[in-house]
Symmetry: C3
Subunit: 355 residues, 3 copies
Amino acid sequence: MRMKVKEIAEIINGKILGDENIIITGVSGIKEAKEGDLTFIANKKYKNLLYTTKASAIIVGYDIVNSVKATLIQVENPSLAFAKIMSIVGPEPITFPSGIHPTAIIGKNVSLGKDVSIQPYAIIEDHVKIGDRTVIGACVYIGHYTEIGFDCLIYPQVVIRERIKIGNRVIIHPGTVIGGDGFGFATVKGVHHKIPQIGTVEIGNDVEIGSNVTIDRARFDKTYIGNGVKIDNLVQIAHNVYIGDNTIIVAQVGISGSTIIGKNVIIAGQAGIIGHITVGDNSVIGGKAGVTKNVPPNSYVTGFPAREKWEDMRFQAYTRKLPELIETVKSLEERIKQLEEKIKEKDGEKVAKND
Amino acid sequence: MRMKVKEIAEIINGKILGDENIIITGVSGIKEAKEGDLTFIANKKYKNLLYTTKASAIIVGYDIVNSVKATLIQVENPSLAFAKIMSIVGPEPITFPSGIHPTAIIGKNVSLGKDVSIQPYAIIEDHVKIGDRTVIGACVYIGHYTEIGFDCLIYPQVVIRERIKIGNRVIIHPGTVIGGDGFGFATVKGVHHKIPQIGTVEIGNDVEIGSNVTIDRARFDKTYIGNGVKIDNLVQIAHNVYIGDNTIIVAQVGISGSTIIGKNVIIAGQAGIIGHITVGDNSVIGGKAGVTKNVPPNSYVTGFPAREKWEDMRFQAYTRKLPELIETVKSLEERIKQLEEKIKEKDGEKVAKND
Amino acid sequence: MRMKVKEIAEIINGKILGDENIIITGVSGIKEAKEGDLTFIANKKYKNLLYTTKASAIIVGYDIVNSVKATLIQVENPSLAFAKIMSIVGPEPITFPSGIHPTAIIGKNVSLGKDVSIQPYAIIEDHVKIGDRTVIGACVYIGHYTEIGFDCLIYPQVVIRERIKIGNRVIIHPGTVIGGDGFGFATVKGVHHKIPQIGTVEIGNDVEIGSNVTIDRARFDKTYIGNGVKIDNLVQIAHNVYIGDNTIIVAQVGISGSTIIGKNVIIAGQAGIIGHITVGDNSVIGGKAGVTKNVPPNSYVTGFPAREKWEDMRFQAYTRKLPELIETVKSLEERIKQLEEKIKEKDGEKVAKND
């Protein structure tokens, strides 16, 4: 790349603080940046790096006005602005030309939209519908009667079983399995009998699902993933779970059966949520939290068993005081002993006096 | 569907409380049920829903005799009975016709049973044996010398490496890997040398294994999964682990090398068990528990480090008392101070008197 | 197998304590060993088994001189020595002959080294480079411009996306995904906009990666896995993570974005590490630990939030004392009450006297 700061600022509608004629020749993170690079700060944690970075220009929020060597470009959302520049100057994205590869296997009564791309060794079973411009990656398996919307990108080796519904502009990363049987057994005299999982999975629009995720089909009715939901790698979503719009689920989270997650919830990495409960809208579940009961809307819960964050932190603070507390109690015990002895002494004196 | 309650009760051998002539037109969960639906209650947690559900008939246990609007059908095991009805009225299950797809690659000396189904792009290496009516899904890889029993269902993109033995009626969901190398290294002067994992994996009859599970092959001898074991998604089972019959392992559990799990054990989601220990028969390991030492039979352990559930709960209760305890100790300290001062005063008086 | 102890000792350069002419007919673990077997002890935990094992010969360290029925073979590293014998007497390893299977799909401008093996249904996109003797397993997908070194073994159904660099002698187990998009979104008015992940993944030499692992590509620059790193199954490594040489990461660990892990670190199973922190060289992270802040070199941290192990253990010990502490405080309260009453009594006496 070779652009002036001025040109960059125009693209992202930014305000320049510093020399607008500096030539930018690359983009990178603020720590790794070298002379000629454009970088950005979204996380205040890195604010000190403004003074040490070798970057020649830095995209920042309007709150940052520090006088530094680099030219600053102020914008409303530095992450988004930087992303825009990256998509312009970054390596050309890999695209998959439309058309059906001759090795792809297409079943009967399959409906394919305009400009669909079906990559090598993909297997599309009977009665599947795929929308316009959707890409089905290599070795992907799409089960019978499944419907996928338009402008979706299904990466290699995804398995989507039968009767699943997937919206538009959905991205599914490699190795993910949608619609495996829910984990349900009826145990009679120690033997576990499989309960048929005749429901399905329904996924809204603009959903992104990471690699090696598992989303099970419902026992009946459906497992539901709302519009705009973003799911990271290795997440487990059990049967009949409902996830509201725009919720974010970080890697290795597990959500047990029939639990309802509200809208705009954030579930941090490795958290686990038991079955048959409700997590209210706009709540945040901390990393590694174990949620064992309903969470009201707008909550922030952490720890295991999960409780309100302030309560969990207070608890953490109290436990840190335990050693001191034990010492205090020991010394109090000693002081009480001395008091008791003194009182006894006095009683002795008194008795002596009264004699 | 369109069946009278009477007909349904006959199929599941149930006792009717209410109108036996009501027409059932669908099945669903008790919360989502609408008029004309059949539903069920297996979990007492939902007992209150008896009064609010719109379902027209409800399969219940013999302990439920409530007088409600819907007709009740009493049976011994509501889950199982409902499952039976679902399998009759549910969507026709997807089946895979027997035969070898022309794109499947079959090695030398492969023995295939009667009516085996080998789906597109499946790869069966040399010397493999597959039993009658077993289905090998699309893109499945079966390594050399592996033996799979009859009536198994191996979903797309499963990898089963060489020399594995799998019993009859085993279901393996997509993306699962059986027989990857155990994780073992000998470290000499900071360099980790791979220890060959020349053992295998043996899986009993009637086992079900979820999606994206990993079960490693043994260092020598075998990793063993007993008859009737049910394993949920994203579970990790390390080399030389032994799992007894009918044990249930919920999603995202990890079991470290050489650990022995007894029969009829339940291991809840995200629990972890260290290596080289034994978990006794009929034990329950709570969700997210971290088991660091042997667990006797018939135990119920929770928490991390895991201990008996009652002990863990008592501990939880005690920690909840910590804030109060700290306040109490503070006030005791104050009272002791006052006592000490009073005693000193008296000593003063006494001294004064004696003067 | 059929070898004399003498012959075995020669191969591993061991010192014999006992009968050197015993015939060995098999190898196994010390618990499962039967007469005629060779076994070993690496973990002192099993030292007692020296007396009960039925093995005829045991490879041990120089520190073990016990007089037992079996012949001992002393070596410096029993694990490594036993591994050497196993690789000689174990089942012949499965090998994949060099050559390109006719069903493999090779893109344009692909550079293949000498004696490369490309297995059935592998898909190699344009501009890929693969080094000498590397095996690309069945159904593996290698994205555009990716480079893989020599003597690598990529198991079936691995996905390696575009522009990834992988060193020499790297082993990747089935189902693993290298180079999925990092999980990054810029949220504007509740809508999560995808941040392009234009970076890559770079993996050093002699790395081993387990089954169903996910290693995300960087936002920019690269996610880095150093030389000699060993990664177990179902591990999540987020975008822009840096992992130093010879670090070991056990199953189901999750490492969040931009975190730096030093050299020779051990991260035990199910641990989680938040983003944007540094874990120093030679540190150990305990199983299930949740690391929330920087860890200095040579640390051993455990628990959640993770702290120094001794501190965590002290904390565990203190919490075990909680029930007793609560009892103590109760009894102190009682004693203080009695003291207060006695003092009051005396005051009463005094007042009475002074009346």
